[in-house]
């Protein structure tokens, strides 16, 4: 372990935290991923809305696509005939990914909303103009950070020297990041923000499916309002999750050289896993104690 490696590891953790946050907010602005089911259902149960509705694919494949696109572009620009500086190459790569994201988002929004014309759901051009650029901006940040992490892991002049080529490692981190964003931050959007008219402290009752909030404090709610709300909790914790994963996974191979101390690296990883299991149990006990059983519960099993 040397100071440069630790510094790079810290930079990777920070980049991952930013990537996670922007990835989650990008999916919240666009209503991608699982909460999209409620946006899609809303018009069909009589709630027309001005929420952006894109479901390009699940988040992992779409993020893998953007990250791989950005990484391929950056790789080409950095390679021989062009020889562009890594920083600018990654920036151009992320721009290409953001443009692709914009194209897919727009076609997705228009396709989904026109298909719901029979439920009086409109295509709002102002929503398309204002939201698509917001989505692209977040996608740009995500792609830039993921490719930067991958570059730190693969650059020939840096210490980590991962054997995978830049696009493959960016693709892999893209899938992992999408899986994390879809699993963590989206719950804050789907279970809380979309259904704020129902009391805090309960999951969505199946009978209320599709009854999403369509009105804002003033006027109609837009997806940028949703990103504002989720940026307070869902986005940052998603960033924390991805940051922790990138940091912890690489930390154990930074403090212990895998070539000579591989077993220590694995044992450290197992210790981390055990600690995470214990902490989750503590979290479960505390939450049940704090919230208590539901008053509506009428079964025989005592809490």
């Amino acid at each position: 372990m040397d100071m440069v490696s630790m510094g790079l590891l810290a930079a990777m953790g920070a980049l991952a935290t930013i990537a996670g946050t922007s990835e989650d907010l990008e999916s919240d602005v666009g209503s991608q991923s699982n909460p999209n089911s409620q946006v899609q259902l809303a018009a069909q149960v009589g709630h027309t809305h001005r929420i952006y509705n894109k479901a390009i694919s699940g988040e992992p494949p779409s993020n893998a696509l953007y990250a791989a696109l950005a990484a391929v572009t950056a790789s080409v620009l950095m390679s021989d005939p062009y020889g562009m500086n890594a920083f600018f190459s990654i920036a151009v790569g992320a721009l290409v990914a953001a443009v692709f994201n914009g194209i897919l988002s727009m076609t997705s929004y228009m396709g989904r909303n026109t298909s719901q014309a029979r439920f009086n759901q409109h295509v709002y051009l102002d929503v398309l103009r204002s939201h698509t650029t917001t989505i692209m901006a977040h996608a740009y940040i995500t792609a830039f950070c993921v490719v930067a992490i991958s570059y730190i892991m693969t650059a020939p002049w840096l210490p980590i020297q991962h054997p995978f080529p830049l696009p493959v490692i960016a693709f892999t981190w893209g899938i992992a990041l999408g899986a994390i964003g879809s699993s963590t931050g989206d719950v804050h959007y789907g279970a809380e923000r979309e259904f704020q008219q129902y009391p805090f402290g309960a999951g969505l009752n199946a009978a209320n499916s599709g009854d999403i909030v369509t009105k804002a404090e003033a006027g109609l709610r837009s997806s940028i309002d949703n990103a504002w709300f989720c940026a307070k909790f869902g986005g940052p914790v998603t960033g924390l999750a991805f940051g922790l994963i990138v940091f912890l996974d690489n930390w154990r191979t930074t403090i212990f050289d895998p070539a000579t101390q591989g077993w220590y690296a694995i044992l450290t990883g197992i210790l981390i896993v055990i600690l995470l299991n214990v902490y989750n149990r503590i979290l479960e006990i505390r939450s049940k104690k704090r919230y208590g059983p539901y008053p509506e519960y009428v079964g025989d099993i005592k809490a």
């Binding site: 991923s33 699940g58 995978f164 789907g190 191979t253 299991n277 079964g299 099993i301």
Partner: protein, 230 residues
């Protein structure tokens, strides 16, 4: 044209074992699909394939790094397993933060009255109109086992392919492909959602073993041939 030798069989066998580990491992991963994203079902609020692939591929990154410095199969496979376990554990933990602090619901399983590990009663904590929410201890432990098996399986496939061609990028991509095929087959078997090893759907594992075996065997033979084995 190269000739067939015993090592080809070993590589195919390693790929098949890796595929089976992935297929079985996916059954352990607690996923609630779209309903879980609305705190309507127990498990992580995403798709089975997505979470399993995300964790397995994080393991693949760890295994790839390990394989660049050692040939020890145990180190490589365990490194992949640990990487996948860290990914899935952090994801489930942060998912629980969102359920507990963001939505205000405690983690609870609906497919069992008492948590098989902690013996905690479950039904009183299920909010009305839902089938559980969050990742309770039994699901968390189950997810950790799923990460272990998925990460180990993906790494074993990568190890076999790397021994044939020595090109990490190509091997990684084939390993990702074989991983996803097995994850999708397992996902069909559990129909998208499962709470963990205590879920009645878990009893369907033998069926997935058969399907994953056939699929991985065919892919394994082609992968070995394409990569220059035999």
């Amino acid at each position: 044209m190269s000739t067939f030798d015993a090592s080809t069989l070993v590589y195919v066998l390693q790929i098949v074992i890796g595929g089976l580990l992935v297929g079985i491992g996916v059954h352990f991963v607690p996923v609630g699909g779209a309903p879980a994203a609305m705190a309507q079902a127990t498990g992580v609020g995403t798709g089975t394939v997505q979470l399993a692939t995300g964790s397995g591929l994080t393991g693949l990154i760890s295994a790839g790094l390990m394989m660049s410095v050692t040939d020890n199969i145990l180190l490589i496979v365990l490194s992949g397993a640990v990487g996948a376990m860290i990914m899935i554990d952090v994801t489930m933990l942060v998912g629980n933060w969102v359920y507990i602090y963001g939505v205000g619901v405690p983690p609870v399983a609906a497919k069992t009255d008492y948590d098989p590990i902690t013996k905690d009663p479950q039904p009183p904590y299920i909010s009305p109109g839902t089938v559980g929410h969050g990742v309770p201890t039994v699901s968390y432990v189950s997810g950790t086992i799923g990460g272990l098996m998925g990460g180990a399986g993906g790494s074993l496939i990568y190890y076999a392919l790397m021994n044939i061609n020595g090109v990490s990028g190509l091997s990684a991509f084939f390993a990702i492909g074989i991983f996803v095929v097995n994850a999708v087959i397992a996902s069909y078997n559990i129909q998208g959602t499962i709470e963990g090893f205590h879920d009645p759907k878990f009893k369907r594992v033998p069926r997935a073993v058969q399907a994953c075996f056939v699929a991985t065997l065919i892919i394994g033979i082609f992968a070995v041939l394409i990569h220059g084995g035999a």
